[in-house]
């Protein structure tokens, strides 16, 4: 198999090659490590490469493959977003604050994937503390979009998305608090799934906004996302918000039969604010699903307009509480020569956190402070319920809700960095899904001037299967997800 074919093959094919012993895990791991070595100087998608660790895991996988002890991902290489704690491997969260932090334990997601046989190639760049939609807030520099090196990959899981698009790994983990899996997946032309809140354990994921954060798979196909989710999901004693629900075999149950599936198109998503070209691509993808037996229904989410305001109170408020732990005492960055304890706190935090993180801590602290709590935090939590109830009412009429994943394609570096509000609007179609705790995915839906567009599919709580099936059917009938940037142009 030619290199490009191998590097752009879905996990489902690589598993087959491994179990047929057509290729060894060590060979496969070396191929992806080589691709990372070639492309990373240009893309900056990976902040830590774990070559020795990966080759050791791959050698172990080869032994298991030889004896027929095959777990769901035995020998399959992957990358982790650098928000997942990895035992003995530096975990930075894209921040100077944690630039030298080496966790003493693995996140549950990391240990589950490892137990399933996956090989960890390294850790992916990201917006600092997952706060951003362009990967421009990372302390380790911006990630470039492999489809156009002058454009952002999206964020915050921009390193993961760029890496998968560039053939540096067939699968990567991401996290999504307001769109951080779906928006970069859309901008990089891959498939990304944010599961239902509680579906995947948050233990060992560096916290941003605890009532919104959720981890999920990013890959080339919906089928691979189903494989990844089946391994990642499940209740965890270490996360009291993880859902005590049985985890279906999402991969085994994958079906292309979507006859009679009712897909709701919120009129608020398809109003005059939507870019005409994005509308055209999204409607073309939906027409494919209609041809496959689905029916399209206009629906109303009357309060979706309030999602941005609600999110930009709740997420910063929770972040300000979560990030209070970075005090320069127990772990993380400490300033030089503090003159007293107060100076140590102030300077360690001001020097350790970047601008966007500090801005959100300020807004969050304000929203939680005496005199403003009711007007902001409490009010936002009330509106959160109103937004969530809109979705529940809509799901009485339809099985899936569809819309764009992002308002446009990837934009040039710096285009939105000076205006925080313009950047926040990148997540206008994704935020409400986190507020309501629903599963959502982005699947490729064609191109605008050579840049990928994503279709977002939103499901009922804990019904990831239905949106995976719809995306799988779309990927059976179309080939948008098979396009990839020219890998030769990415090698430095």
């Amino acid at each position: 198999m030619a290199d490009t074919q191998l590097l752009t093959a879905p996990v489902s094919e690589l598993r087959q090659l491994l179990s047929d012993r057509a290729i060894s895990s060590v060979e496969l791991t070396r191929a992806f490590l080589r691709q990372i070595e070639l492309c990373n100087p240009l893309l900056n998608a990976v902040v830590t490469i774990c070559e020795d660790h990966a080759l050791k895991q791959a050698a172990l996988a080869d032994k298991q493959l030889a004896t027929g002890e095959i777990a769901p991902l035995t020998g399959v290489p992957l990358l982790h977003k650098d928000i997942f704690c990895t035992h003995g491997i530096r975990t930075t969260c894209g921040s100077r604050m944690l630039a030298e932090f080496t966790p003493a334990y693995d996140a549950t997601v990391v240990s589950k994937l490892q137990s399933a046989g996956a090989v960890t190639l390294g850790k992916c760049n990201m917006d600092e503390f997952a706060m951003g939609s362009s990967n421009e807030t990372s302390f380790f520099g911006t990630v470039k979009n492999p489809w156009d090196l002058n454009c952002v990959p999206g964020g915050s899981s921009g390193g993961s998305a760029a890496a998968v698009a560039a053939g540096m790994a067939p699968l990567a983990t991401g996290t999504d608090t307001g769109g951080s899996i779906r928006q970069p997946a859309s901008l990089c032309g891959i498939t990304g799934l944010k599961p239902t809140y509680g579906r995947v354990s948050r233990l060992g994921i560096i916290a941003f906004a605890s009532s919104l954060d959720q981890a999920g798979p990013m890959a080339r196909t919906a089928e691979d996302c189903a494989l990844g989710l089946t391994v990642m999901a499940g209740v965890d004693g270490g996360d009291s918000t993880s859902a005590d629900k049985p985890v279906p075999d999402f991969h085994g149950a994958l079906s292309t039969d979507i006859q009679g599936l009712r897909i709701g198109l919120p009129k608020q998503f398809f109003n005059d604010d939507l870019d005409d070209q994005v509308r055209a691509r999204v409607l073309e993808a939906l027409a494919e699903l209609e041809r496959a037996g689905a029916t399209l229904v206009e629906i109303d989410l009357p309060h979706s307009h309030y999602a941005i305001a609600t999110y930009y109170v709740i997420a910063p408020a929770e972040a300000s509480a979560n990030l209070a732990r970075y005090d320069g005492v127990r772990f993380g960055y400490r300033c030089d020569d503090p003159k007293d304890l107060e100076d140590l706190y102030l300077r360690s935090r001001s020097e350790g956190f970047g601008e966007e993180v500090q801005r959100r801590i300020l807004v969050g602290t304000y929203a939680l402070s005496a005199g403003f709590y009711d007007a902001y935090f409490n009010k936002a939590q009330q509106v959160r319920r109103v937004i969530t109830e809109d979705f529940h009412r809509a799901f009485e009429q339809v099985d899936v809700i569809a819309g764009p994943s992002a308002p446009g394609v990837a934009f040039p570096f710096g285009a939105k960095q000076q205006d925080p509000i313009a950047m926040y609007m990148e997540d206008i179609y994704t935020l409400a899904v986190n507020l309501a705790g629903l599963p959502g995915l982005s699947t490729p839906a064609g191109f605008i001037n050579g840049m990928p567009v994503g279709l977002q599919l939103i499901g009922r709580p804990f019904d990831e299967q239905t949106i995976l099936n719809a995306a799988h059917r779309l990927q059976t009938d179309t080939d948008w997800h098979q396009s990839h940037p020219s890998l030769g142009d990415l090698a430095s």
């Binding site: 932090f101 080496t102 966790p103 003493a104 809140y197 509680g198 009532s211 004693g237 009291s240 918000t241 859902a243 005590d244 309060h303 309030y306 941005i308 305001a309 609600t310 930009y312 109170v313 005090d327 005492v329 127990r330 772990f331 993380g332 400490r334 503090p338 003159k339 007293d340 304890l341 100076d343 140590l344 102030l346 300077r347 935090r349 001001s350 500090q358 801005r359 801590i361 300020l362 807004v363 602290t365 304000y366 929203a367 902001y376 409490n378 009010k379 936002a380 939590q381 009330q382 509106v383 959160r384 319920r385 109103v386 969530t388 925080p420 509000i421 507020l435 309501a436 705790g437 709580p461």
Partner: protein, 95 residues
């Protein structure tokens, strides 16, 4: 609603962040813009609506108070910027 530079300084102190004199006008301006965005919440009537802190209205799950993981103190202490004999070192707080 807009905030004054003094408001921003007060919140910064609560959050244990410092903002230099030169950055203060811009931080204040951006802070006000975010607050203007979220002030839109005041246009919706939420009387009698119970605030939502968990999207599934899940109750906090408790577990028996038992040790499930062994002592990992040394490995965890290894992340401290400064330590001695198992204690975190900070500048002197009492003379």
């Amino acid at each position: 609603m807009s905030v004054t530079p003094q408001d921003v300084e007060k919140v910064a102190l609560l959050a244990r962040l410092t903002i230099s004199e030169s950055e203060l006008p811009e931080v204040t301006e951006r802070f006000s813009r975010v607050l203007n965005l979220v002030d839109e919440l005041n246009t919706i009537d939420t009387a009698d609506i119970v605030p939502m802190s968990n999207p599934h209205d899940m109750e906090q799950r408790l577990r028996p108070d038992q040790v499930t993981r062994g002592n990992n103190r040394e490995a965890l202490m290894a992340s401290a910027p400064s330590q001695e004999q198992g204690y975190f070192l900070v500048p002197k707080v009492i003379d």
